[in-house]
Subunit: 251 residues, 4 copies
């Protein structure tokens, strides 16, 4: 297998689509948001990307295996703008993989005429969130303006550590190749899978891409998570706060 390999899954013709990336990350915010789009709007598979920088692994679903990879789907909202949605179960395992996979993802985007890309993710606050703000970062002032119009917050020096992984590089490498790109980061505690933060991110994306989705399933999942938090808080009476480790994989 080559270091980075594209596999076509369908022949799709998209009209001036935007790229929407949601790979695993903080609170699984980006992945939840991208997968929600695929569940709620009719979509079809476009390409799959494999790489020796993904874990050497197959997933198993009902006895059938599938090689680790990331997948692009075409999503065409009835009245809104076409989207090329990228999601998957893995991030690259090393630096060279992050750079090379992002270049490959941008190649795919290029081939489908994408000029604007949105990387979806979460930004950890360390505290349970009351009101879900969405933080932004972008490659051009024009994109910053567009996003501010729909309520995205741009703050001096936030996120402090910058943006790492594919989401960050979609902006860093995308800019070098002439893409307009933005990262939409939903605030999230960082401890829990966070459907509410995913919804906040999608509501913002809706404002710039113009689609309609129902949030019932995300809200239901958010209720389940709140139940989990309630139980942890009960267990917690008189005992030390559960550590990040305890909470990180709940969901």
């Amino acid at each position: 297998m080559d270091e980075f390999e594209r596999e076509a899954l369908g022949d799709v013709d998209l009209d001036d689509p935007v790229l929407v990336e949601g790979l695993p990350g903080v609170g699984h915010v980006g992945k939840l948001a991208a997968e929600h789009l695929l569940e709620e709007i009719e979509s079809e598979p476009v390409e799959r990307v494999h790489s020796t920088h993904f874990p050497p692994q197959v997933s198993v679903d009902d006895g059938r295996t599938e090689l680790a990879g990331a997948e692009f789907h075409a999503v065409r909202p009835e009245d809104g703008r076409d989207m090329l949605v990228l999601t998957g179960d893995h991030q690259a395992q090393d630096n060279r993989g992050h750079y090379g996979l992002t270049e490959t993802f941008l190649d795919v985007a290029d081939d489908h005429g994408v000029s604007r890309a949105f990387a979806l993710g979460g930004v950890p606050t360390g505290e349970l969130i009351e009101e879900y703000s969405v933080l932004g970062a972008a490659t051009t002032d024009e994109v910053v303006d567009d996003l501010e119009d729909v309520g995205v917050e741009f703050r001096e020096d936030e996120p402090a550590g910058g943006i790492v992984g594919v989401s960050g590089l979609l902006l860093g490498l995308g800019e070098r190749r002439g893409f307009e790109a933005a990262c939409l980061m939903g605030e999230t505690s960082g401890y829990l899978v966070d459907p509410k933060s995913a919804q906040a991110v999608l509501e913002v994306l809706q404002g710039v891409v113009d689609f309609e989705v129902d949030y019932a399933s995300l809200e239901e999942r958010a209720d389940e998570m709140e139940e989990v938090v309630r139980k942890i808080q009960e267990m917690d009476q008189g005992t030390p706060t559960p550590s990040d480790e305890d909470l990180r994989y709940i969901g």
Copy 2:
């Protein structure tokens, strides 16, 4: 030395063989099973694979050294189907090695006319096993059917973490190259070298490949392991359970 290197050890003509892989892993189940085949049925060495992704190491046997590698043996059961059995003392040390070694192993299989591959391994349950089930995963529904016929269990969402290493990639990469492949995973505690789990896996393999082997030596080794477990349980009265670390390398 090249990154991946094949060294022919003998000139063997096999008749429509299946590949049987048993490299080190959970409970050493796959390795024990593959080595048992080599001990019980007449076999001859076919190829050895070296790689800069194996540990930089020689093993020492009676003062003579051998470079780290993996080895293919031809195994011809009297009445059953020919097998190309792959075993060794090492897994690759990094992702690129896992992918590259698996491709190399599939090259060898290809050259000997293999069309169906069985990856043998263990799946950790975290508890001592009473009844040894064998879990399956496969690349085609046809293989799933064949294996269900001989008692292999296919469960929704198991194993939860997928299958990693060469065993997983034999399916993931094998499928892309047109192999039919399955992974046979014996349930095992995950704490101990587990000859009983290896026997369970072989008994299933027997059903699809059709060979006869005596299990006396595996059973003897299983008795020794039970003795070890008994001693640990005695020591354990009133003391904390031995940690995974303590148990993992017993055997």
Copy 3:
């Protein structure tokens, strides 16, 4: 993106410049010193270097992103020697990156006619410093002589562990390519960002390169750090000394 990539930022003509490197390291001494030069003397950007061996990351400043990299600036002191100043937020993430980035940095230096290079950094003493000595290491006896004249100390067997990272390789690889190179290491506790040590290093560099800078802003920052130390010492009454971990990122 290539493994190592140069991006021209301006067209600058320097007269027999020296290279001055100040990337992140012990006490951020080198980085503070290099950045102080850029703040105090008129400078202009020359080149930016990107690499797949830098972290897969963008920094965010006021909502706008910038891909991880290192940057060269031309600095022309009024009466002193021209300088090509290299600084940035990252070191390479692996050995191959350290070697390759250093070669790339030397390529840039070569293209601008550099023949002498100064790597700035800190050397940890494990104790709070009263008097800030600057330790030296160099590729030729001639450079050693020049630096001893301005007060740099050369000690047998110091620094004991040698010099690692780009600073070390600028000397090790630079020498092979005919550069005269020296490392100027300000003594520093190793626990805190150390503007005083950066000033000590600059005062020595001033002696050999001949420029004038105001140290008010570094002194101010040093005062802030002393305030931090004072607070830590107060908190510390009757409690264990704060660990390196606690202190390392203060500043």
Copy 4:
């Protein structure tokens, strides 16, 4: 810089030399032994090997720097066999480096007509040693015989974990290229730099290569180490045994 680079240091004509390797490892036995040869018998530098797989580092000696590397010296005992002695301060930092450096070392050996190689090292016993045995491993029965004649012990299944690093690969890769190679491993606690074990190894090597050296300086250093051990044992009265960590770098 290339991944592996040879730099000629002198033009030396050796008569049917043996390669003697002593790089850092358990108890620094091999390195001490090789360096003792260089101190006690007239020698001259032959080649230096650099690599991006060595640490990105320069050593500093009296203010002058030297890039990380390994060095070959020609050693010509008055009456014995010529030796090409390889030593240095570093091992490779990764698997690919171990394999590639060993191939490079074998290239150098080849160019000087070496047909037999001795890798010197220590084998850890976990206990302070009373009588210093030397364990052997070799690529051919002929070398095993020669070494048994001079007192080297060959034991079934020892060393249990095989031989790792350059010492192991000199045998594993050397054999593939037609070298006769052996590893001579002095027993050593594994906790301390062990000049006595180095002497034991050299006394065995003397038997097969035929040279004369004075051991006074090694014995002196061994006395110093014994003094260290005595002090540790005194400190140890009523306190827990110093951990491996405490002891490992003493010497």
